[in-house]
Amino acid sequence: MHEGERPDYDRQEEPLGGPVVPINALRATPAPADGALLALRRGPGFPILSGPELARVLETALGGGRPVPHGPARLAARDPASDLELGDLGWLGLAWPAAEVLELEGDRRRPSTLTDLREATRLADALPQVGVVAAAVRALDVDPGLRPLRELQALLAGTTKHVQIEVPPDEATAEALLEIARAPGAEPDRPAVSALLDVEAIDEPGRIRAAGVLAGAGVPIGLAVRPAVGALEETLGAALGRALRAAGDLANRAPGVTVFLVSRALGAGPDGVPAGAHAVRFLMAFVQAARELGLPAAVEALATGSRASDWQAGMEGGLGVTACWMAGPDLVLGAGLRDAGRAFSPVGLLLDTEAFDLVRPIPLGFAVDEETLAVEVIEKVGPGGHFLGEPHTLRHMRETWSSRFMDRNTWEAWEERGRPEPPDHARERARELLAEERPPALGPEAEARIEEVIAAHGRGRR
């Protein structure tokens, strides 16, 4: 945990309300201005676990002296303007690829293809809220042996933002992925890729060797836990313990490896069911513990259990982003995932950026000074008056948050227009974004080099 970040867990407010979380303190240090990407200011942390509970979790996780590795200071991007500085800010991203896609037109659900991945990547690149671009879907129409390579190719061709991949099952594929990642001419000390390692797979010899190859090349490794529903302290302590053990294995193979901690949503995954309050509590406690360990935390906060972008998806997304503005992870993952991570929805991706946007201003609080307190304006307007004609209103009226996809029609106009809901507005915007001309993210030389690597990898497998 960084200096000055720790909330005062022990300060007891009387007689109500338990520990105090002073987000007001954030205003003493202004947030970095928004750049090419839009981030969430990380708050002071949130004491979902009490001091003694947190201590027990860390004791289990550290297992009597397990060393804590270093976290990366940033996740770099090919375009330096899209670098993700870690510490003060939280960044939105996609997460694990879904095997099915909900089509943009009509929401038909079907197995996903390389074309779907390309479209999702273009959308993610166009949305300034998305900082981490991972494969939204699996390219199931591609030879499984070449799939990780084709997927990385599609990501690099579609975005210059930070790209996140999964650690492959063998060294040769890891070597090929590195070659592909280097093809656009990335600087060696600025790997524009990070990789997620499922810590349940660290006993697979090929997988841990592959992670070692990537880590040795300076690729930050996200140690991903897949918690099961259970008692929070025990589940979290054990999950973090597995992650730190994996970090130890990796450090033996690649000294100097940098890692961050990643949690899938509780109940997400192939057989998962949404886990309600337990999922939110786990997410917040995971971030709290990671911050205490001094490691960056990534959480899959947006993988709703709903199969559509409906009330449930909005509600679960709302709980997820609220848990994030309160707890302060470094990466907020899972944008666009539906059905507990089994399906990806382009419409859902846009909506999830809006959910992220909605909470971004909250940790910044609001200004309290003579101008904003507006006593003179209140006096001038007086009882029964209005503020519509006041210069003060003109000066400040654009400061409130504006939605992109929520319906702003009157009731009558809404009915006349066929009762559009936010997914309808998001779908229109997705169409516009996909129709926009965008410069290719890879030049012809890099494309040719990538094709060479993929061809060589294919020959090597035969």
Partner: protein
Amino acid sequence: MGAVAAEPRIRGLRHPWTIEVLTEDELERVHRATLTVLARVGLEVRSEDIRRELARAGARVDDAAMRVRFPPEMVEEHLALIPPTFVMAARDPALDLPIDGSAGWLSGDGTSAFVVDLETGRRRPSTMRDLIETTRVADAVPELAYLWPTVAPQDVPPHTQAAHYLHVMLAHSTKHAQHNEVYSRRDAQVVLEMARAVAGGDRELRARPIVSTYQCCISPLVYDAGPIEAAVELARGGLPSGFVAMGIGCATAPATLAGTLVQMNAEMVGGMTLVEALVPGAVTFCGPYPTFMDLRTGDYRQDWGPEDTLLKLAFAQLAHRYRVPINIMALDTGAKTQDWQAGLQHAVSLMAVAAAGRAEMITGTGTLHGAAVYDNVNVILDAELFRIICEICEAPSEPWLPPSFAREPLEAWEALGRPGARERARERFREILATHEPEPLPEDLDRELRRMIAAREAEG
């Protein structure tokens, strides 16, 4: 297997944490600015009787301008008289709600002139039947701890509405009734008469107020004659008598959050000072319901989000500073149906209330489109959300999944026509309506209340 725990009749939200959005210095600045507004600008109080009484109590009154200005020391002195805790009693004593910070209690929302028809899904004017049905469902759902008049029935004479609301709440539920639609001294007298009849007399009602009330300021800074006279009459009758402010940023309140905070705080603190000056020690509370104007349409902003959360947290801090109970509006949405927007706004808003440190009363579920339209399906869905958030705060051992979430395999779900949470909640509402029978009022008491309504109707 262990015994299955019985479903509780009501469920409250603990507040295990306090998120502070204002520094102590900022909190004091807001308070001082509030005192300045009340001293320099004051309130327009449109009742000559109340102004006369306030002048005697130490306020500076300008009768020609209907203006009442409150010296800072008068405000501080009377804020200190407000009881920090009270009980919102219920017809069934097991459902009494301690208003002491131990929990936040959710109510229904209101009071909409329109309702979404359960069968057609279309908006239409609301009726007495809607009022009764929504009240019966509120009685059944444990997450709703107390009642509001949900809809404004268009099929009864307006001057009888206050009496009808109370009759429906008392006859179709045994939960506490918070009456927000008492607009005149005469209405207040009728409400008190009805409440005394059900409570068993004046002394019994004072000891266990089964009804509470509040009045709304007309922003900026105006209290109309009828409502403010009703507030004082109700407080004299022993009912909790609170004050709500509903400033609309950019229109009836400043465009800045701090300015809206100051003005609405002045409106509520002014109301509470007024009632304490005339009825010392009266039970009162505040209720901030801020919104912003959409300057492109002239409507409420339908997409409120971060400002709403920040103001909730700030108002909770102010209430804590004053040690005054607070009724915070959560579950507000600009959405026109139970869509992604409604789910998102409700979750963000209610989670903020959970972490606000205090919010003894949480208003309220049921409405859409900025409370303009009531839809019963909301109640079912919001109750599920409320329970999830209660569990986030309380760390239960067993996971609970809302009944409105899809559980069947994908293929089965597709075959059913892809029902969403909205469709499942609609079925659940129908089921409750078909099966739940609230404890009725004794027949003679019900006849007595109907006689009081008829007498009010005859007054014209």
